[in-house]
């Protein structure tokens, strides 16, 4: 069970990056995403619509107080993993992390509260270079599930039939 916590969402500016985080989380097998920062009703509604149309049981929600999320997940036995370029290499910790069956995966916003680093179980880095929370999330999921998440199937109203060239879409 993997839940993503996306910190520090900013209205307007983070619209698309936060949406991509949600879509990636869903497509690669997370169970839920919780947004913190600004409340963005239209982004969350958009994601819910997409999720419903394409299938699966992915949950999308909002909570202003990120510490509350950390606390409640700790109480439920979740291992808290924070993606940060300052952390230890993912490839050195993933075996350990894979043993945990309940993960809360935390991805920043532009400014991450300093105290977060000491409140989590792991600060892990998907490279120590600046890049993207979307990519860090994707590679974490891919490593955690050992690539098997790419074979996930969703039963949606809309489905794609893979093609060598062109597009084939089935709607029902």
């Amino acid at each position: 069970m993997i839940t993503i916590l996306r910190l520090g969402h900013r209205l307007g500016r983070d619209d698309r990056i936060s949406t991509h985080c949600g879509l990636v989380a869903r497509a690669l097998g997370a169970d839920a995403i919780i947004y913190s920062g600004d409340h963005d009703g239209s982004m969350i509604e958009g994601l819910k619509k997409t999720s419903k149309r394409w299938g699966g049981k992915f949950k999308i929600s909002y909570e202003a107080k990120w510490k509350k999320i950390l606390d409640s997940h700790k109480k439920k036995g979740f291992c808290i993993v924070h993606a940060t370029m300052y952390g230890l290499p993912l490839q050195k910790r993933i075996k350990e992390i894979r043993k945990k069956k309940k993960i809360l995966f935390v991805i920043g916003g532009e400014k991450v509260p300093g105290e977060l680093y000491s409140l989590v179980n792991y600060n892990i880095a998907v490279t120590n270079q600046p890049h993207s929370e979307v990519a860090a999330l994707a590679i974490f999921m891919h490593e955690y599930f050992k690539g098997k998440e790419l074979d996930n199937r969703f039963k949606g109203k809309i489905n794609i039939v893979p093609q060598e060239k062109g597009k084939k879409v089935i709607e029902r």
Copy 2:
């Protein structure tokens, strides 16, 4: 050698997603990114600055005519791989693609020209679900390099020393 071609950049709207594509490409071991669509001087300048500061030889450029890029890379013996959710599963083609030493990896914008599908060597899908070109790029690089790209080192003016908690940055 991997070059990324980012299609259909739109000023303003694609700012951050396109920036993330460039940063991910660099961090995960691509040699270059070429942007097409709107010309966005400030985005490109921003990326060049980041790249210079953090090290490495990553190249960033712009070309209005995407077909020209395809043609010139074909002539130089590049294999053209297009990431699309309509394509064949990455996991079924990656072994074949890994044998190619020169790759042009094409990622869309919002609207990809239909003719592109027949002009490339591979249309590959990182899942057939909607998500993010940033994530598709990341997982492609990760699969192509079999995870070894996470160990890449850059000699920059700024370097991070991985920490279990907190941040350690060395500037020179």
